[in-house]
């Protein structure tokens, strides 16, 4: 009996290690320390028959983020189901039954085969999912390369610095040695009879500017939607205080959707939750909504407003003018980014844009990464 148990346990621990290896293959960061933890956890729990406990304890030890936890269960059942087939349901065996010994190498080989097979299947199903998304009328974002995104973030980081830098002559206490604050130092040490024990430093106070992004996602902007998403995502990542809105016929706040951890998640959220993508354009009314609903909270002397639109407005220019005037009055700076402005011979003659023009501090063209680099880094 004793010997049998040992045999069973070693094969179980081997399988756990195999599972760790499998997870590593699936981008889980698992090293020897985690493997040891997993084995130790199994040991403390002792022999048991409840597969749920087994699964949950492995999850507690091996999955380290929310995202990993979410995929863990699926990977778990995939792996152990396959293993059960391969090892002839050794784990489920009743203790009385004799375990059927099988060479370990055989196990791994079968798992490996299955891994490879499974990988291919994954790719296929993913591709299918993408096309399904496109035909269902929802916006699908394809073909974003990581390189491009990194590049865009880099540019935005450089561009955002001068845009959001605001000088302030006031000083604030600094923890690290810097400018010496004589007055505060004397005052603080006076309490202890004037022995200078503690030095006080200060540094220029930083303004924390608020950035508001208003992006046009109407039909006429469709050509640039890919760039638009990168642009919004990039700003949200790089600048600390950004609020992002999109508008076509109505205004929607998407700051939270953009704050997802990965770009893929963001895309997914956006395609699911932004209803008016590629709709008509009512810039004036959308801006009006913005002023009414968010203006009080977001617009101040520290606010920089970035509007990204081609200016094709189907509404009344008076509405547009009123909204722009209001934004201009309350914000510190209004920048209009126009994807069309880059083409030679372009004149901002669109009616809506004409109405807005007096209230724009800076008019720039940007329609892709390259133009963004050329025009936004001033």
């Amino acid at each position: 009996m004793d010997r049998e148990l040992i045999v069973r346990r070693t094969s179980l621990s081997e399988n756990i290690l195999g599972f760790c290896r499998y997870l590593r293959h699936k981008d889980f960061r698992i090293g020897p320390a985690e493997e040891a933890d997993a084995l130790l956890a199994m040991e403390t729990l002792g022999p048991f028959a409840n597969p749920d406990i087994f699964r949950l304890s492995l999850r507690a030890v091996l999955a380290r983020t929310r995202a990993q936890q979410l995929v863990f269960d699926e990977l778990y059942s995939e792996y152990w189901c396959e293993l059960e087939k391969a090892v002839d349901s050794k784990i489920k065996d009743a203790p009385e039954e004799k375990p059927k010994p099988k060479p370990a190498a055989g196990n791994f080989q079968s798992i490996k085969d299955w891994l490879n097979k499974n990988n291919k299947k994954d790719e296929e199903s993913e591709a299918a999912a993408y096309s399904a998304l496109a035909t269902s009328g929802k916006k699908s974002f394809e073909g974003f390369s990581d390189d491009e995104l990194t590049e865009i973030m880099r540019i935005i980081r450089r561009a955002a610095k001068p845009l959001t830098l605001q000088f302030n002559r006031r000083k604030q206490r600094a923890r690290r040695p810097g400018d010496f604050d004589l007055r505060q130092t004397l005052r603080r040490n006076l309490r202890r009879g004037g022995d200078i024990l503690e030095l006080v430093y200060n540094k220029p106070k930083k303004h924390r500017p608020q950035l508001v992004l208003l992006c046009d996602v109407s039909k006429s902007m469709d050509l640039y939607s890919k760039f638009l998403v990168q642009f919004m995502y990039g700003f949200q990542r790089v600048v600390s205080r950004v609020e992002t809105f999109v508008f076509s016929t109505s205004l929607q706040r998407i700051t939270n959707q953009l704050n997802k951890n990965s770009f893929e998640h963001t895309l997914e959220e956006l395609s699911l939750t932004v209803p008016g993508w590629s709709g008509g354009t009512r810039i004036g009314e959308s801006l009006q909504t913005f002023v009414e609903d968010y203006g009080r909270r977001l617009l101040s002397r520290r606010t920089l407003v970035l509007i990204m639109s081609d200016g094709w407005d189907t509404g009344e220019p008076e509405v547009m003018e009123a909204a722009m005037a209001s934004i201009h009055r309350q914000a510190s700076k209004v920048i209009w980014v126009n994807p069309l402005a880059g083409s030679p011979g372009y004149e901002p003659t669109v009616r809506g844009l004409q109405a807005a023009l007096p209230y724009i501090d800076l008019f720039v063209a940007a329609y892709d990464v390259e133009s963004l680099r050329r025009n936004l880094i001033i």
């Binding site: 028959a49 409840n50 406990i53 609903d293």
Partner: protein
């Protein structure tokens, strides 16, 4: 649950009026067995901090809490010398005839050492429970400093020497995911995600915490909360809000929900005006869906 020790732990937590599920119990159990910190993440108001409090009571040990915030640094977490006290003492010593060596020795004495939570946890006579709350609010520098303490369990104070932990504390870290925590910290810990409770669990919690609530009302409240959370809200209400609401309505001796009542008391569960506006507009629809779950009085 078939494991005797797990069952005992669950009972222990239950006795402290904490409703758990298997994954929570198991994580707590493993954290204790493997002697590893437990990192608890989840949305606000699902009882992350509560776990630590309950565990401390269940283990019958002291809870030492380090609340993290932006700008938290080592002196606030570890120790500080009580300068003022030392100076006064020095002035007193000057009047007496003590040698400089003697002076120095008595100046850096234990009694001038202000112990902050981490040092407290290390020097405690019995292994305490150390709660590092909202670790994501502290900056990255502090996080790496924390890593060092959590792995070595020793703190060196130049004037005294190295203090080694006599008992390794049980550590619970909580995070609201304001900032992604470093991979290194994650790898040191076991991970537990607590989500909003499902209907049954929430009902059990409400009945546990608000014992004199009407049975039908509690069902309706929980059913309603489940539906509210399915909406796209800026601030999704947690269990704490559910309990506030249940408590308020129970105090008013109300025995069922109706639209008017919900509309008037929405401010207890929703804390953002847009959320309130949105919910008020879709109240009828919400009620219909809740009705399917807990036979809510739709016409009420």
């Amino acid at each position: 649950m078939q494991h005797p020790e797990l069952e005992r732990l669950q009972q222990l937590l239950q006795d402290q009026a904490y409703i758990t599920d298997q994954s929570i119990v198991l994580s707590v159990f493993l954290a204790r067995q493997l002697n590893k910190p437990l990192l608890v993440e989840g949305p606000a108001g699902v009882g992350k901090t509560e776990i630590a409090k309950v565990m401390a009571r269940a283990m019958d040990t002291e809870l030492i809490r380090l609340q993290c915030y932006e700008g938290l640094d080592a002196t606030h977490a570890l120790y500080e010398w009580n300068y003022q006290h030392q100076l006064l003492y020095l002035k007193m010593l000057e009047k007496q005839d003590t040698s400089p060596e003697e002076m120095e020795r008595s100046l850096f004495d234990d009694r001038f050492l202000l112990k902050r939570p981490l040092l407290q946890a290390i020097t405690h006579h019995k292994a305490p429970l150390l709660l590092i709350d909202e670790v994501d609010r502290a900056d990255e520098e502090f996080e790496s400093f924390l890593l060092e303490v959590l792995s070595d369990w020793q703190i060196s104070i130049p004037e005294i020497g190295t203090i080694k932990a006599t008992h390794i504390p049980q550590v619970i870290l909580t995070s609201n995911r304001v900032r992604e925590l470093s991979e290194a910290l994650r790898r040191r810990c076991l991970y537990l995600w607590i989500d909003y409770p499902d209907y049954d669990k929430e009902l059990a919690i409400v009945r546990q915490k608000v014992p004199d609530i009407d049975a039908r009302l509690s069902e309706q409240i929980c059913g309603f909360m489940q539906e509210v959370r399915k909406q796209r809200l800026e601030k999704v209400p947690g269990v704490a809000e559910t309990l506030d609401w249940a408590m308020a309505l129970a105090n008013l001796h109300i025995d069922h929900l109706d639209k008017e009542l919900v509309s008037a008391t929405l401010g207890i569960i929703l804390k953002d005006w847009q959320d309130i506006r949105q919910t008020q507009m879709s109240l009828s629809e919400l009620f219909e869906r809740v009705g399917a779950i807990s036979k809510l009085d739709v016409n009420g």
